[in-house]
Symmetry: D2
Subunit: 345 residues, 4 copies
């Protein structure tokens, strides 16, 4: 059994703990959280694990082989570095780090110490994403032409990251997983409505070498929640609605029908040119898959689909998108100031 | 009664004809279409109107006071110019012209000849848009912060315009109508998947002086049809789904709840912070409203909400967006070529 | 060309007229309506057909080969009888007659005069019902086990018929068409909420020789409109939602999974045991199909799927259901009176 | 703290246990389950509680003040009787008992021993049902006229009860709670498709003294899951969709509009006559409410909304519905046999 320590027992940490307990490959040795209240709650539910105050105390325990880090982003690098230096395997929450320099250092360190470094891109283990990956891999959609994702809802506003760094890693890690290539060019715009220094809506457009265009619409200020992820292909188009319980995946037989082009009326009346298939999507909890995957990667039985390198790629894209977003916002500010001067003069 | 001539009896022309016949203010004198087949069909259904071959022949008729132009975009300017010069009132399909220079000339001509020049931005007369206009005007949503529109479907691919010029005028005219201001800055990207020289997907971001951000997602290559138009405000958010028959408009009581921020778990569980109201939307055909509006504007009883100036503003935005889109595509092409050279060397 | 007369130019009559004009096999000779206002409206739109006041006047015209009857139910029998006696083919609105005796007489008369007698069960020509018929016929669903239909909305309250006779013919004619057998036993209950002598909600359960159970939920007092029609089979289940524009038909791969039965948790988590297929449903107007069918049946090119016999079978079921409904209501009334007496004593 | 024992650690039992642990008023002393595998699983997650084999062993423990019974229906009576006789408070799963005689005996016993007897009609503590109860109580819907419920899905097929006894208690307990009256008359039909001796679809119609009609459509053989519960009133109608995460409750402003009656076309085009309101529904787990309620009723702080009498009323309705269903099935069988004889002769 792998002795595991959990660092951070907040909302996501408690889900991680439950899944670590459920998995027979792990023995949960200790949990660290700075909050006394949370440590009391922890003891009420799970008597077996020790509850400690600091990451250092958990990492120092000799029975610990691996740590799972569910703390604020700014602390990921330091805790993961310490754990790797002490020879522990690491599963860290997304985004992996606050900068690609940090991410790169952790990747090198893990390689040098021969330890597993994984980033919890949980969505890769949702049954829907697993199925999308298989469908795309099998070529069922034909040549992929675009991904169009919408991930909007109302808060929660994060204190440590903006909407790009909070919601972006989900879609970017899925795109990285299913496309298997890196973007050529990244465009971004957005705005800070609720708070002048932290973007709460962001639009990204990524261009890929294979001519795929990926568009993300991310937002924290929509009272209606949307989780729409479409993958367009030359033969078929797939739409994933993560909020639907019974109809998560829809595969549309697509492509403009050349015959219909002659008669505009006919095509206007038709919304699609073929059948729609809704494959059965099973409902295993994604985090159970992540935890199982972590155990198998440690045991050398699986290559990781969410290793340090993939975490680093996502952080690199986030950095580039942040630069593009900052430029767009700065440009709008200049135009706005010039306009006001012109009006004022 | 206003003697009216219809120029172009295609898909939209036949809808215009039906509504012109239904409106007692008009007498349909003549219809022009170059296709013999369509003129035969016309005579079978509507014996009263004369069927002619050319726009010139209709405009020349002395009983004609007004013309309605439903022809390809490239011909709008010439036909409208001729009609205005002959002293006829003009209702022209959207987009008004192929360039803002053309549009400006028509506006000047109509002013000089004291004739009505209107652009058929039909959506402004859908009951939903009328209601959105009223709701925004009354301040029900608070201060407007963003508009997020998605208008995607499968074709029909137009021969004379790309997706920006085909679908863009709908949302841009609605935005122009409800916001009543002009954008400071226009960003665009997109791609040409089906045809190398004509964009079939386009993403626009418009920044406004009042800090409103407008985002449009337009596409011809989605087998699933989406018509989503959200208007976010500081107090409430409105979402219009034009494909829903029973639930077209939803008004969400929104805004991040400061109290919930303390407890992250609670807010994650809540998808919205208040009630949703679905106001009753009546179902009058929009085009009937356009035709009635045209009659009243000719009679001097109403100011037009879709006059030549608004048509011109939309064409100006389309031109600016097209430039931004061309730049984005050229930049991606350069990066791609450089990458290939680097790989090849 | 078949000279045709339309009797009744109300809501449905105007749809019939448009489709008769569109069909090249027919020449619309005359339209009868007692309302002067409607006859004026008719002349404005369709100058070619004569507008008359009475059914008799239309039937008497020698150019008339066929009549289409779109008048209140109580008048169907007399008008259809007169037309058949004069040697005209007849297409009559549903329900065919107010009693099965009347229906039987018309069937005999049509046979004796060798004229076509058809009932406008329009739904049989919706593309969805045509597809359901084909799917069931091919055995794709396996052995049919049940039909469960829900047809509820808010009014319009009819003056001449209750909800059973107004909405029932739609689902009963579809069931008659796709099952091809007659019920053994008919149970019904319901209530008169808005009006003490006219049922505005009705629940029917029909048992068939092949063990199929058909259940109809019909109502006029639901502000939300529902059109749900499910056909369950031993292999698959089909659900038709007539209000959906893009997803009218869904075919579920069904059947309780024997393996899952062992582990209750697994099955509770799964909502279905297989894929869902949404076949493409075309969008031709059903009434165009009815009118074309009428022409072909008159020309001897097709056997009618909505002949007088099928109309008579529907009326027989309606009569039996009405008797069951009356018995149920009378029984409830007796129990209620007894209860009040017991309480009062 | 109330010492509590859980009897039955299956699917529902594990949910009960989690909620009992989360509630500070209870201390979970022991859990009984005959399965060794489940007792091992129990010990892995929750070390504090003793795991025993039999109900008797739990009831015999002196630290136990209350028991929660989550075992097959046939065993409810014996276990609850034993617990009450030993002076323990009882919360038993639904349906309370296999017969109304058993239920009546338990009610009398609880009264005699002055112990709390509650039935876990969990749905009464869903936030949606609590809100429906308040809305109906406040008279917001006007005079209630009908309830129309559809609860269909694919299995799981129960071994000990048919679909009526499995799914019926949910809707019947909600109806009992919000209407507060008992039915005058119960009609039922249904069928046994998968298994010749156990109904897997059932249609119930209940008539109430206040003229309310309640209709239930229950089924185990629908691959599509539906949870629809509509309450119609003279002023408004409420529809609860338990499967929707963001739009659980919709309140329609209803009632046929007398003015629209004149013009049939207008009303046909309108699907509803007023606004729709979607009140915010919170998302607390219902079972947490049940457990808290149990603690408060034991402490004498609340009157129970799910006491033994309400459990008994539900069992009485189930018995009456079962008799009606049996009669309907027998009648169909007789008609079928007669028909076959007639055909055979």
């Amino acid at each position: 059994m792998i002795g595991v320590g959990l660092i951070g027992y907040g909302y996501w940490g408690s889900n991680l703990l439950r899944n670590l307990i459920n998995n027979r490959a792990f023995e949960v040795v200790a949990v660290a959280d700075p909050s006394e209240r949370r440590r009391v709650e922890l003891r009420r539910h799970h008597i077996a694990a020790r509850s400690l105050e600091t990451a250092e105390a958990v990492i120092a325990l000799p029975e610990i082989d691996a740590v799972v880090i569910a703390t604020p982003v700014a602390t990921h690098y330091e805790i993961a570095r310490l754990a790797l230096e002490e020879g522990k395997h690491v599963l860290v929450e997304k985004p992996m780090c606050a900068s690609s320099d940090e991410a790169q250092h952790l990747v090198q360190l893990a390689k040098a110490r021969k330890r597993v470094l994984m980033v919890d891109h949980t969505f890769l283990f949702t049954c829907a994403v697993q199925q999308i990956h298989t469908i795309v891999d099998h070529g069922d959609l034909g040549r992929i032409t675009y991904v169009d994702a919408m991930r909007i809802n109302l808060g929660p506003f994060q204190r440590d990251v903006n909407v790009l760094w909070d919601l972006g890693p989900h879609d970017l890690s899925i795109v990285d997983y299913i496309l298997g290539e890196e973007p050529l060019q990244i465009e971004a715009s957005g705005y800070c409505h609720a708070n002048s220094c932290q973007a709460d809506m962001a639009y990204l457009t990524l261009h890929y070498p294979s001519q795929i265009v990926v568009h993300l619409n991310l937002g924290w200020i929509s009272p209606v929640k949307v989780r729409r992820f479409a993958v367009g292909g030359s033969a078929k188009t797939l739409v994933w609605d993560d909020l639907s319980s019974q109809e998560k995946l829809k595969i549309y037989t697509a492509g403009p029908d050349p015959q219909s082009q002659e008669d505009r009326n006919v095509l206007l009346a038709e919304f699609r040119s073929g059948d729609i298939l809704l494959p059965l999507v099973s409902t295993r909890e994604a985090l159970a898959g992540v935890v199982e995957h972590f155990a198998k990667v440690i045991a050398g039985k699986e290559q990781s689909i969410m290793d340090g390198r993939s975490g680093m790629r996502i952080v690199q894209i986030l950095e580039a998108a942040q630069r593009a977003l900052d430029e767009s916002l700065a440009h709008v500010r200049r135009v706005s100031v010039n306009r006001m001067r012109a009006v004022g003069s």
